[in-house]
Assembly symmetry: C2
Homo-oligomer: 190 residues x 2
Amino acid sequence: MQALEERILRDGRNLGNGILKVDNFINHQVDPALMDMCGREFARRFAHVGATRILTAEISGIAPALMTGMHMNLPVVYARKSKPVTMPDTVYLTVAPSHTKGRMVELIVSPEYLARGERVLIIDDFLASGSTILGLVRLAQAAGSELVGIGALIEKDFEGGRTALTHLNIPVESLACIISMDNGQIIFKD
Amino acid sequence: MQALEERILRDGRNLGNGILKVDNFINHQVDPALMDMCGREFARRFAHVGATRILTAEISGIAPALMTGMHMNLPVVYARKSKPVTMPDTVYLTVAPSHTKGRMVELIVSPEYLARGERVLIIDDFLASGSTILGLVRLAQAAGSELVGIGALIEKDFEGGRTALTHLNIPVESLACIISMDNGQIIFKD
């Protein structure tokens, strides 16, 4: 998506070691108009998959998932990283390695909001190694939900996440696909 | 706001001890259409304050703040509770007691996105004791920003947060104001 790629080139920072700083418009400061455009684009790309619920992970997945949910008229569930007192005693929990935190994090969903028969569309900010998204996939599978699609704002193609998702045999869409961050550059596919 | 009050009565749960479970539509599962309505209402109520930036706290403030930002055409900044690797070495940090977590949490904002001369509107999910919002107030003050308004989806009037904010002498708006949760009930003001 051209508007997102242009924003990455303008305001994103390649910090080296594959780390892309996008906290000007995605994950500390958020540009609502850009997120709205991204949500509309995800809604267009996934219009045919028959999703009944959107699943994401707190924290930075919330903005794109919420806007996608608005344009698809679907509820959004965000996996929590710690269990609040308002959650039932028995939950779905998985662990996934966090690239930015350098440790394992928990992803927790209440069975109240992810159930057998749901058709789940996963939306997140990044598709890098795929480890967070695979955590969300395991939660959906544990709940007996069916996965119908995966969308990420930004894909780091060189970290292999798409390959790690191939076995799911569902559409995987990213709005900006980066094929190289070598030598301080940010190079998009095509 | 009638739609929010009706939703609280329908899907909220009074868990006792002043704890209101709203994770069906605000803070685990999110209803994007309802959040959009709430954002539009905040935009209407704060249309006159001349805000240049919206400030909230991760995690559950993000949805209402994002929708308010969309309707006011303003950037949204969410204070982080841990410092990611992409944040500069020197930041604004304060600590605030968390009612639901039973401990102090950090609230962190990068000086890149909160600066002298900004006119800051704070939006959060709850106004209870006011401790999280007062933490955001301290961050804005540390940055030299001017506070121009405070909005919360749900106010728990009996926890005294509004009184704790009086000294700021700025408009404080809530979209659903609960005056009592005694005996398992949820009673709104008026």
